[in-house]
Amino acid sequence: MVKKLFSKGYILLILALLYTPILFIVVFSFSGNSRFTFSDGFTLDSYRAIFTSEQTPYLLQALKNTFFIAAVSSVAATILGSIAAIGIYSLKRRSRRVVENINQLPIINSEIVMAVSLMLFFVTFKFPEGYLRLILAHISFCTPYVVLSVMPRLTQMDPNIYEAALDLGANPFRALVTVLIPIISPGILSGFAMAFTLSLDDFIITQLNKGATTGIDTLSTYIYSSQRNAGGLRPFWFAVFSIIIVAIVTFVLIINLKKAKNIDQKEKENEKSA
């Protein structure tokens, strides 16, 4: 009993520590000052500042850039990665191992090394600074995750289904579109979601490859450049961070609860059929 209480208390303590900074920001986003007091009462001033601050145009531009780069590179990564997975699946064992190992490289590599290697590459071969560099860089670290999420669908698939489609007279292209792609589509979808979030979240690779003169900023690089030297966090940022935090937490919770529900339902169905 005591042991149980102790374990529960420990879990709660660590969770509280993990959530303190995040909750702290959200709570004090309603104080309207950066002195961490409610001396001015409960206000929405910092939220109003999002629309009226002199930083607003830069913030909106950064937001636009973030979503533009994430959208383009995740769509490209999904197409490239899904097609690649089908190809890699059909490779002979040895070459398949080699390609899968290369695919692992960006995943295991530390971000800073990936960032500087890409920077060196772009500088050496004189790629034009700006969106092109960023999008290519984002595609190169997102695509491996798409491949990884499509691959299991292919290996778990019953190869006879595809063969059956061919036996029944479908040409290979038709079998691909009507049989193979629907089977792997959940993998494609989750690969896309992963690529999109990874691209949104990226800071290090973007920071090193955005180019000094272009003035392109994504949300994370803009946050970094405006905070690097500033002493304290301005109320404006409290509000911006709070919105981002609440949006992400809600989004992730919804997705995961849905997933958990699906799993539970499947387990129940399995029990019934058994």
Binding site: E111, V113, L166
Partner: protein, 268 residues
């Protein structure tokens, strides 16, 4: 006739199998250009000094006291952070692996990870400001633990909850007390999780960029690599990147040896 038809179809299918391989070629080309070539470029740059092949960059790094100090400091911070994450995270993973509702609580531990690390780091800094804590090495280490603890808990939890309960039950039946069961059965079986946890905390800690700088004005190895490249010392920067890359590859060999990469994949 029927036989010849199926034979023909099988041939067609086989022919397509051959051509389906072509699907991987665009990606292979892309990866060779944008992942392999840049890394090769790092390797080449490390050995080039003044347009000539030489070891001068290595000599420069070896004589550069500031960079070497950064390297040692990074190790120190990395080791302290990793050790603390094991000490704090192992009990969490262990307790959660015993509970039926553990999966949902694990989600709570992963949730903050989805918020960008810059925002989390700045939030931590704001808490330190509010509490009037002076920023320094201590706050840097706290920030690192805060940032990377979930990366330790997750692989540990995956490994611990996949251990067959009958092992520890058998040990208990044979007369072992709780502590002995843990030391002799559970702990050894969870070593793969510990190893992937260590690499998932240690490597990012020493290579991270910005966290240490924001939380204490301290430069770690990742910050040094960044600074070298920003100021155009590609040669020495490349040597430092090679050192980092070596760590990544060595730790990956360790992970692959203990568990065929299954635990680390589950993070997503």
């Amino acid at each position: 006739m029927n036989k010849s038809l199926t034979l023909k179809l099988k041939k067609a299918a086989k022919g397509f199998r051959l051509t389906r391989r072509v699907f991987s070629f665009p990606y292979i080309a892309f990866m060779l250009i944008f992942v392999v070539a840049p890394l090769v470029l790092i390797l080449v740059n490390a050995f080039i000094y003044g347009n000539k092949l030489s070891l001068q960059n290595f000599v420069h790094l070896a004589r550069d006291g500031a960079s070497l100090n950064t390297l040692w400091l990074s190790f120190l911070v990395g080791i302290i952070t990793t050790f603390s994450c094991i000490v704090i995270g192992y009990p969490v993973a262990y307790i959660l692996s015993k509970q039926t509702s553990g999966r949902l609580i694990v989600l709570l531990f992963i949730l903050p990870m989805w918020v960008n690390f810059l925002i989390r780091t700045l939030a931590t800094r704001a808490v330190f400001h509010a509490l009037d804590v002076r920023l320094g090495l201590g706050t840097v280490i706290f920030g690192m633990i805060y940032n990377y603890l979930p990366f330790m808990i997750l692989p540990l939890h995956t490994t611990l909850s996949s251990i067959d309960k009958s092992y520890s039950e058998a040990a208990a039946d044979l007369g072992a007390d709780g502590i002995t069961v843990f030391m002799q059965v559970t702990l050894p079986l969870s070593i793969p999780g510990i190893i992937s946890g260590i690499t998932m905390v240690f490597i990012p800690t020493i290579s991270t960029f910005a966290i240490s700088q924001l939380l204490g004005g301290v430069h770690l190895f990742g910050d040094s690599i960044y600074t070298k490249f920003i100021y155009g010392s590609y040669g020495v920067g490349s040597v430092m990147s090679l050192i980092m890359l070596a760590f990544v590859l060595i730790s990956n060999v360790f992970i692959n040896k203990t568990n065929k990469g299954e635990v680390s994949k589950n993070i997503w």
